[in-house]
């Protein structure tokens, strides 16, 4: 139980930081709405539903990337990884707490983005909403791990997109195709991998 109490405390801390700093979520909201607006005017009339859906996923992935680049800002700028990794809690709790916060930011951005998509384009079905929710789990788990890896790297602004975008390709494939089982499998496989490997990622951050 102590593990989940640690996770809860860490996730609550990240949500509180965002509530006060208001840096990540507003940027994500502006970005996703601006992107969908541009797509709306850029696409010719009569564009098919699948093409519009593809653009939705492009917008969501890049919005997520924006959020992920900010995920470890406090830890990076203030050297807080040193203090966190010395704590006797399970190090994977650091990853899970952060992943939950990232998931919350993604959901908050999509609460605005999905209705906007429905208005701009050809509506929205329940399957897409479920696919987005499943994709958020995968993005948060994989993205948080990669974000922590990027903190340790020198060219961190470059490193995160280079690592994240190739791993986001299956999410886009599953999302556009509506393959919910595929997205759930991605979440399970990469969730376990990220959980198990975080310890080694932060070993010498």
């Amino acid at each position: 139980m102590s593990y989940f109490a640690d996770v809860g405390a860490l996730a609550r801390k990240d949500l509180l930081l965002e509530l006060r700093a208001k840096e990540t979520l507003p940027s994500m909201l502006v970005f996703v709405i601006a992107t969908l607006t541009i797509f709306h005017f850029a696409l010719p009339r009569g564009t098919g539903h699948v093409a519009a859906l593809g653009l939705l996923w492009v917008a969501l992935i890049f919005t997520a990337l924006l959020g992920l680049t900010r995920a470890f800002v406090a830890e990076r700028e203030q050297g807080l990884f040193d203090a966190l990794v010395l704590a006797p809690c399970d190090r994977s709790a650091l990853w899970l707490g952060k992943a939950i916060a990232v998931f919350a930011f993604l959901v908050a951005a999509e609460v605005v983005a999905l209705p906007a998509f429905a208005i701009f384009f050809s509506g929205l079905d329940g399957r897409t909403v479920v696919a987005v929710a499943l994709a958020d789990v995968g993005i948060a788990t994989v993205g948080t791990l990669l974000g922590a890896m990027a903190v340790a790297g020198r060219a961190r602004e470059l490193l995160l997109p280079l690592l994240f975008l190739p791993l986001a390709v299956p999410i886009v494939v599953g999302g556009v195709g509506g393959y919910l089982w595929f997205l759930a499998l991605y979440d399970a496989v990469f969730g376990v991998l990220a959980w198990a490997s975080f310890e080694y990622v932060v070993a010498e951050v």
Partner: protein, 191 residues
């Protein structure tokens, strides 16, 4: 508490230090001096288990017994002192942490500002909070990197009080050893 033999650290081609021996027990204070970039911080990170050695043998205590203060105070600036210490108290499994946190905030003169955000604090107040964080779990090994940074006369007196406690092993890295020198039992000078 710490036994290190022939420690070396290399970043790529650059050799930061080589052939360093360290013995540190309770009641001892190791003063590590040297100019900027000489490897003091790297050695402290190695002793904290935050960086691996490139060569040598090193025995370290369990990480929950280590208190590490880096160049930064290692606290969240958008949280209050109380929120910061409550978070770290939770992660360090400190029983009755409310009482311990209150005692430390009183000791370091931060009780009155316990509900204010750290981002509004001066650098010296942030350093005091960093010392509170590092002492929160009453570590038996204390590793302090430039702990007198930005501290005023009162802050330096509080730091002296910490360094004067004999129930723990302490290593201090600094380029200005004046405030630490009276407590040093062992010395290591980097060129």
């Amino acid at each position: 508490m710490i036994r290190g033999r022939g420690l070396a650290k290399r970043y790529g081609e650059r050799l930061v230090f080589d052939g360093v021996d360290v013995d540190l027990d309770r009641g001892r204070l190791l003063l590590v001096t040297g100019p900027n970039g000489s490897g003091k911080t790297t050695l402290l990170r190695v002793l904290a288990g935050l960086a691996a050695t490139s060569a040598g043998e090193l025995e370290l205590p369990a990480r929950e017994t280590i208190g590490y203060l880096g160049h930064e105070p290692l606290v969240y600036r958008e949280l209050t002192p109380l929120e910061n210490l409550t978070l770290f108290g939770r992660l360090y499994r400190i029983p009755e942490r409310g009482e311990r946190i209150g005692m430390l905030l009183e000791r370091f003169g931060l009780w009155e500002v316990r509900h204010e955000r750290v981002s509004t604090f001066s650098r010296g107040m942030q350093q005091r909070l960093g010392l509170c964080r590092v002492l929160l779990h009453d570590p038996s090994l204390l590793l302090l990197d430039e702990p007198s940074n930005a501290l005023d006369a009162d802050g330096l007196e509080l730091l002296a009080g910490v360094l004067g406690e004999h129930h723990r092993a302490v290593a201090v890295a600094t380029h200005d050893p004046r405030s630490v020198e009276p407590f040093a039992t062992d010395r290591l000078a980097f060129a």
